[in-house]
Point group: C2
Chain length 159, copies 2
Amino acid sequence: MSGPELHPDIAPLGFLLGSWIGEGTGYYSTIEDFAYGEEIRVSHVGKPFLSYTQRTWSLDDGRPLHGESGFWRLTGGTHVELVIAHPTGVVEVAEGELSGTSIALATTATAKTQSAKDVEQLTRDIRVRHDELAYDLHMAAVGQPLQPHLRARLTRTGA
Amino acid sequence: MSGPELHPDIAPLGFLLGSWIGEGTGYYSTIEDFAYGEEIRVSHVGKPFLSYTQRTWSLDDGRPLHGESGFWRLTGGTHVELVIAHPTGVVEVAEGELSGTSIALATTATAKTQSAKDVEQLTRDIRVRHDELAYDLHMAAVGQPLQPHLRARLTRTGA
């Protein structure tokens, strides 16, 4: 697909670009384990950010589970910023560090609508190797301490 | 396009669904007026929210200007909640009221990344009549009081 050149300020995150599909497992101390399918899309328009959308579905019956969307930014070559809207009525800012093709992020700020139930604190560890993306997400929510919540592995299916 | 039924909790916002294309004009006390093209996409997966992405481009040379993404929610039949991520490193919560097929929203909370420059306060007045969507956006930013900033008119081009 032809398009604008990747902006140099965001080029070190270019390894995230593309459509990714895969499967993951969810855990939490308060619920049963569950298996999910996931699609992630990361694109750009030539400006110094990447656009991001994500959705997951149950591997049991295909029903939609979660979704989120937002933007990736990079400053100083290694400081990664992710701004995300969640359909639960929560917006999240996550920041962290890029190391090679690995990214470690933690929630730094959140805000929510009047009706949103709870605000979660998350950490995300993302590793990309060629066309494989793996992540581990830890979550502190519903009064529980930070603990493993999601682990998935996706394959790049297109640019 | 066939798909899941619209969730009844969000059905009163169903008039937003579709792909919209149009043009607008931007104003601000600190800049020259400018003309822009805009595409808005609103979709759903059968859960009680609508997914939203938007992008604008200059009518001068087609270069991308802004973009945002997030989710629409509705509680109590008329209380509208919009959570948005902006590529400027800002996340925004806007809330307001639905009246027929008109929506009036104002920013209620924001958060930002370390590198984001400023946080804006916005109001959005959106009116849909059949396949035409018009909006007025007011903005308080860069030390300026709330004032008209964007006005656009879009046409629904698809479901």
